[in-house]
Symmetry: C2
Subunit: 597 residues, 2 copies
């Protein structure tokens, strides 16, 4: 989003750099901050400096890592930006948390290595006590919003979104938006998820039983946020789950989501039937104390729905959904997540952990889209959403999956109706099954459409979906593809300011300001590289043509001539036309310069 048309006094505008003392700044972009109503409320933006002396302000998710003045060190973690805001509210208290056990990192007491955590890997930053609500105080952003309070977090996102803080408060209070911000994750730069705001993008990271390490996951997180991920989910399933998550949390400028069920299953050695409510609850508390901002909970996979999947083409494709289905079948009992949902709400409320109610029965193929299993679960998610809200727990709802285009709208419409307009958070959807290796594209199509129609956050899909674990390049491709889908939706929804980014880039294109085009691009590096492949020389970056048409055929140049000759009111245009035509002929009829032989 370009903040050009700023709505709040605190926002920046597209400015003439010469007028605010930035004229001498080198061309390109730099990290800037917009100050709010207090000095410790500074919202980061990406300020792009154009060669025509103007600048454009863009939303920025990259955290202090892109600020040359910030002193970052992954071994220390990010500064606790929100700490004073949290403590000043006086409604939370530190306490002696649950001790970290070897099995939290997937190390079993039966292991030949003796059941010790790899302490060399433990996060070395400042020791901290976990924090939770005091005396049953309601400490969620939802509770504050309902009480009419505008928190610093709300003001922060209002500046980011270019809307008034009151709009933010209203949307959160109504349950139409969430601001995921665990009291134990003071490092985050607050952001909001809701259909009245910019469409957000989540990137998944996580080591698995098969491959990858702690360092890689931290690196993937910062890499994903650099390209625009608004949240990151750590879906680790292998060793060192607890420790990896600690590193990720302490270094993340964006909210972190998890699926606690994955870790709980590790604790019972992968035997779904040995899962218990107690083990699950303990895992949720462990993660809440670490600072996880939102948790996917598959409480909608009820015993009675499992047989509805038996005749599907691809059964249950959600890992969480299949684990819960296996548990229900093994015990022939109702899901322990569904049965204990109220108690789970109390826990999440104490830390302001946001629910992401998982769609464990989402379709995994075009054939299974919008079937009875999927919608039965959605109705249960609507019921759970109301329970969560009664505990002041912020809640969003997860959605599919694999859905052909003509069945996409039904998903968002039903979800909005059944779930009282709670934010929808969808995985794609993929609009066809036939293109493994290109599922960022099959799903980017569905993501753009469903976001236009109201989905608040999109979970990215990388080119490796269905095939393997994403590497660094895949993460970038996934994030960029989904930022495109999100921004296309922002445009289609008429989000205030969204189009000004496009306009700035199109102006640069029309005026052959190549460097400005690159700097304004979602991915400046690749845009510049592609241009240089065909026309590498430096003069080509100021040339008034490009490699597609060459100097003789340039349509943009002809248009500029037309504008020069015919710009102005319709009356002026018509009046001047015959006259201009004569001048054009008199001047030798030259629109193009002839190519040198």
């Amino acid at each position: 989003m370009a903040n050009k048309d700023a709505r709040t006094p605190a926002s920046t505008q597209t400015t003439d750099d010469a007028s605010n003392g930035e004229a001498g700044k080198s061309i390109g972009w730099h990290k800037a901050y917009v100050e709010g109503s207090r000095p410790d409320l500074r919202v980061p933006v990406r300020q792009v400096h154009l060669t025509n002396g103007q600048s454009v302000t863009l939303y920025d998710t990259s955290g202090p890592y892109t600020d040359p003045l910030a002193d970052t060190d992954v071994r220390r973690g990010l500064p606790p930006l929100r700490e004073n805001w949290i403590t000043a509210r006086g409604d939370t208290e530190e306490y002696t948390g649950r001790p970290v056990r070897p099995e939290d990192d997937g190390i079993k007491h039966t292991s030949p290595r003796g059941g010790l955590r790899n302490l060399d890997a433990v996060f070395p930053g400042r020791p901290r006590q976990p924090r939770r609500s005091r005396d049953g105080k309601a400490v969620t952003q939802l509770a504050y919003a309902r009480r009419g309070e505008i928190t610093p977090e709300m003001e922060y996102v209002a500046i980011r979104e270019n809307v008034s803080p009151e709009v933010v408060r209203e949307e959160i209070a109504a349950g139409r938006a969430v601001l995921p911000a665990n009291v134990n994750h003071p490092e985050i730069e607050p952001m909001i998820i809701g259909k009245r705001f910019l469409v957000k993008v989540n990137a998944n990271i996580g080591n698995s039983a098969v491959t990858s390490s702690i360092e890689e996951e931290v690196e993937k997180m910062t890499w994903a946020t650099r390209w625009g991920a608004d949240t990151v989910m750590d879906l680790s399933t292998g060793r060192n789950i607890h420790t990896t998550r600690e590193w990720v949390l302490r270094n993340s400028p964006v909210p972190i989501g998890t699926v606690p069920l994955y870790q709980a299953l590790e604790k019972v050695d992968g035997k779904a039937e040995e899962l218990t409510w107690e083990i699950y609850k303990d895992t949720v508390i462990e993660q809440a104390e670490q600072g996880v901002d939102y948790m996917t909970v598959h409480a909608g996979v009820r015993l009675a729905y499992v047989p509805l999947t038996a005749n599907r083409k691809t059964g249950i494709v959600s890992r969480g959904g299949s684990i819960m289905a296996a548990w229900c079948l093994a015990h022939h009992k109702e899901s322990f997540l569904y049965e204990n949902f109220a108690e789970l709400c109390e826990i999440l409320a104490a830390y302001d952990v946001t629910y992401s109610l998982g769609d464990g029965l989402r379709p995994g193929s075009i054939a299974d889209a919008n079937d009875e299993a999927q919608f039965a679960e959605l109705r249960t998610l609507g019921e759970l959403n109301r329970i969560a809200k009664s505990f002041h727990v912020q809640t969003m709802i997860e959605g599919p999956g694999h859905v052909p285009m003509h069945k996409i709208k039904e998903n968002i419409d039903l979800q909005q109706e059944i779930c009282d307009e709670a934010p929808f958070y969808t995985l794609g959807p993929l609009t066809t099954d036939v293109a493994p290796a290109y599922d960022h594209i099959t799903s980017g199509i569905g993501a753009a459409m469903i976001a236009w129609w109201g989905t608040a956050m999109l979970c990215y899909v990388t080119p490796k979906e269905h095939l393997g674990l994403p590497n660094r390049d895949d993460v970038k491709t996934g994030v960029i593809t989904y930022k495109i889908a999100a921004h296309a939706a922002d445009l289609a929804k008429g989000h205030p300011g969204a189009q000004e980014w496009d306009d700035a880039l199109s102006d640069a294109r029309f005026e052959f300001r190549w460097e400005d085009q690159f700097n304004l691009a979602l991915d400046p590096d690749t845009a510049r590289e592609f241009h240089d492949e065909t026309l590498p020389a430096e003069p080509a970056k100021t040339a008034h043509f490009c490699s597609m048409c060459g100097p003789k055929f340039c349509s943009m140049k002809i248009s500029q001539d037309i504008r020069r000759e015919h710009g102005g009111s319709q009356a002026e245009i018509e009046q001047g036309m015959a006259q201009k035509s004569k001048e054009f002929a008199a001047a030798g009829n030259r629109v193009y310069l002839p190519l040198a032989e």
Copy 2:
């Protein structure tokens, strides 16, 4: 499209290879032919052999090049598949064509090199005389369809599309579909463009004043069709235009489109104002004699519309549009294409060249979408469409461009209304301007949507759009992205048989038939490569898990267990559930095998 549910007797079906003698064939795919009502009517298909003994039949655009039994040689050209069909009709005749002149290849008499064509580059295949209609006979597929004739070309596409030949004839007769097939391009495998048929994809190739050679363009054409391009447009603008086009035409299994205006402009040394109707007409005849199947004609850019673009953000971005605008301004006269449109129709009719009425005033930025200039031209295209039809000339209409999602539907709805449902042929549209280097994706989103709503053919956009000339990889990425958009639209439109491809791939995925997933994929090479990056060993290709979840967490495996235990009717499922639960417990509650420590 999977032809599994064949509608015509001539079509193949998903077959048990064992039953038709193909059991011994190696796993993978091979080129096969479906014979029509006559032995010289053989429709190519891609037959994918699955490891479960079945096979799936897919649409194939790759021509004889993928047939190991075909003896292809680019210096000889492809066999003239349609020659007997054309001559048997007896309504065309060979004649002494227009001589090829040095300026046809962009070589000027004023050139220091003496104005000689580079004869070494001339296509060496069999000499041929051009052919045109005899005694004012109507020789277009539209004329035949209107007379109630089902031509071999119509039967051919009916087999390809899995519909009855009568549907093909009706759609052509009504002007809702075109079958581009110049009588001088007997090499093509006929294909149809219309909203009742599979959505088609065009790939652009062409050398420019800046770079690339004849060999590269021929290679790009075969490469594009290998990945699924249904037509190819040769947009060359540099030297050797005539000769490059000859090589492309003689070797192309798909219809070839051009923009004759580009070559005409070369003949007047790039000076738009020196263009004349005579030079343009001569160029059209030159290209029609060579066999160009459809031509983009920017006859809708009328003098009065040019000033409507003056205050646009990005003016006129169509090369053809800007050339015509410059001509109109220079002379202050109505467009010579508009003024001479009837005569042009007579020429195109004589060769059965299809019109692609160009949208010279299409928007080049989000800001300019759906403006008065664009729609004024569209209304003129509607008028020209009726004139073309009165000459029995097949006609499609080109569309934008850059359009935000919420303005896309208006484009197809208006076009269908104004142009009597003539096939719409759109470039994307791009749904945002902010992602140069990813415009295959920004436009793939818009392309899928507009195709769902009725666009018949999509002109691809490569990652290099706005930045440089596409190389081989870019061509492939553009084609694959657009095949995804087209197939997603086929699914959403409920095209008969479209979903069977998805179903076959999803079945393979659910049953862990990795090789089948690869072979069914739109891009088998990349799917296999991505899988092997994470799990390279050969046993991994038969493993009942993948790298995303590892062996412990596999949701597909849990689903298979559920199906095994609960498949059947709803009554059976419910009855059996409690019992199965007990058995599950008795068997040790093992859904997963524990991982070795």
